[in-house]
């Protein structure tokens, strides 16, 4: 969709107006249906009740959101850093790759839920945030590692020859050929990893149960136990808004770094 041209302003606004309108219609129908059929609020609260919960419990929910944000972003950023570094190391040293790859796969295929109790015991309840961060990192790390290794190996054969012809040093080959070739792959991994970090943080907190965890996941469990369903919905809403922000952030990053040259980001004028 181009910003100008034959589609005009309606097409541009409809991109936001259509989903927003549909959302409002949906909420109105929901509000009406709950009243019409007398649905109890501990089964399905009306949107107005959820909004009230969002306002009343706002400050404490925001604190929980902050906790979840810290764990998720911490895990996500460490996943990016370690995934790329290890991917680069693997490419530089095949022996290291052959040695460690099976263990990386093992960490990936073992469900977090199964390792969570162990990690929590090791790290200790007083540092539960760290345990959660490690668990979320475990989930988020693999796509970046595997995409980095594939990306670094995907440089064009002709360009490799050219670099050899001009006697490029190892570092220059990495800096000017391998890394830029890998960038689209790495950013693809980063996008997947962002979502996984959030899932990891939430699942790990569910498993951790109470303790000192005060993130949104725990607030959902707690609200469920107390049959405070409006607050549960409010917490859920915050989680999904956070997820959406994270999603668009990684998408923006991908666009910012690739739009000048990569086919995936190019809008062709036919």
């Amino acid at each position: 969709m181009s910003s100008s041209g034959p589609e005009g302003p309606w097409a541009r606004h409809s991109r936001y107006a259509l989903p927003a309108g549909a959302g409002i219609l949906f909420l109105a129908a929901w509000e009406w249906a709950v009243a019409a059929w007398n649905v109890p609020k501990f089964v399905l609260p009306a949107p107005s009740l959820i909004a009230a919960a969002l306002i009343n419990d706002g400050p404490s929910l925001m604190q929980s959101l902050w906790f979840t944000t810290k764990v998720t972003l911490g895990a996500f950023l460490s996943a990016v850093a370690t995934g790329i570094s290890l991917g680069v190391l693997f490419t530089l040293n095949r022996t290291l790759e052959r040695t460690l790859w099976p263990y990386a796969v093992m960490l990936q295929v073992t469900p977090v839920v199964a390792i969570a109790p162990l990690v929590i015991i090791w790290v200790g309840f007083e540092k539960l945030w760290l345990a959660l961060l490690i668990l979320a990192w475990l989930v988020a790390f693999f796509p970046i590692l595997s995409n980095t290794t594939i990306g670094l190996a995907s440089a064009d054969h002709g360009l490799k020859n050219l670099f050899e012809l001009y006697g490029a040093s190892r570092w220059k080959r990495f800096r000017y050929l391998q890394f830029p070739s890998a960038l689209p792959y790495i950013l693809g991994g980063v996008r997947v990893s962002g979502g996984l970090a959030l899932i990891g943080a939430v699942v790990a907190e569910f498993v951790a149960g109470s303790g000192t965890a005060t993130g949104l996941a725990w607030r959902i469990v707690e609200s469920g136990n107390m049959l405070n369903i409006p607050r549960m919905f409010a917490a859920l809403l915050m989680l999904s808004v956070f997820g959406i922000v994270l999603f668009y952030l990684t998408m923006w990053l991908q666009w910012a770094l690739l739009h000048r040259w990569h086919e995936s980001q190019v809008r062709r004028e036919n």
């Binding site: 020859n161 050219l162 012809l165 001009y166 830029p180 000048r260 040259w261 990569h262 086919e263």
Partner: protein, 264 residues
């Protein structure tokens, strides 16, 4: 003419190339490339033209025989300081870099004094008629323009030898003719030595001072032919009787080699 020079620029003697999978790509290749020549390696696909060209560039060692650069000095590692520009069949550009950065790549990789890089890059771009496109990205260019960028990159270090591996094979005929003429005009001005790989009889006759005809299984030289026509060459030459005679001679050379090959 530079043909009379005694020492060749590059001498290939008794070259044999066997790949690790057992393919014998080249057997018994002797070739002297003299300074200032425009020499074409002509032959059907699979006769080892690219392999030969790559070995001249130092990409891959011959299994037997030697490649010498009698008039070049050697660097500390004992490698000849070949000043080579290489143009591949594909433009082989970095899609993430601008035209300017693509052409500047040889400087970037070579750790040379960087003072006049910008001037030299602009100069090379002007040579191929792309000075206005320095800031463009490769995807914004046509096939012919990408090939021009590739040629500018090969020329930017002012090499003595330009190696070209079927550079125009993927282009349409009109663009190819245009690039042929532009290349010849540049060569007449600069007089580097050109080794030009092609499978087109017409292209080889039109461009070269000398044609080396090769055949496959195993890759070998089956004949050699000088093209005495003067430069500049143009449409007049393309339609002249000597041009037609030369094309026929070269084709017959190729046919004789093919007839002897049971697999064709």
């Amino acid at each position: 003419m530079p043909m009379s020079e005694t020492k060749p620029l590059v001498r290939l003697a008794g070259i044999r190339k066997v790949f690790s999978n057992g393919t014998e790509a080249i057997r018994g290749l002797d070739l002297d490339v003299r300074s200032g020549e425009f020499i074409s390696l002509l032959g059907p696909s699979g006769c080892g033209k690219s392999t030969a060209l790559r070995m001249i560039a130092g990409l891959g060692e011959p299994s037997e025989g030697s490649i010498d650069w009698p008039s070049s000095s050697y660097d500390a590692a004992g490698r000849p300081e070949r000043e080579i520009g290489f143009v591949f069949q594909e433009p082989t550009l970095m899609p993430w870099a601008t035209v300017f950065d693509n052409v500047a790549l040889p400087f970037t990789l070579k750790d040379r004094p960087k003072g006049d890089v910008a001037t030299r890059v602009q100069e090379a771009l002007a040579m191929v008629g792309l000075d206005r496109f320095a800031k463009s990205y490769p995807r914004e260019l046509s096939g012919g323009m990408k090939m021009r960028v590739s040629i500018a990159r090969a020329l930017v270090l002012r090499p003595k030898v330009l190696l070209m591996d079927e550079p125009f094979a993927a282009l349409d005929e009109i663009t190819r003719f245009k690039l042929n003429n532009d290349l010849l005009a540049l060569w007449e001005k600069q007089r580097w030595t050109v080794v030009f790989v092609t499978h087109s009889v017409y292209e080889s006759v039109y461009l070269s001072t000398r044609i080396v005809v090769m055949a496959a299984r195993p890759g070998r030289v089956v004949g050699e032919l000088a093209v005495p026509a003067p430069y500049p060459r143009g449409t007049d030459f393309r339609t002249s009787q000597p041009y037609n005679d030369l094309c026929r001679n070269v084709s017959e050379m190729l046919d004789r080699a093919m007839d002897a090959d049971p697999a064709m």
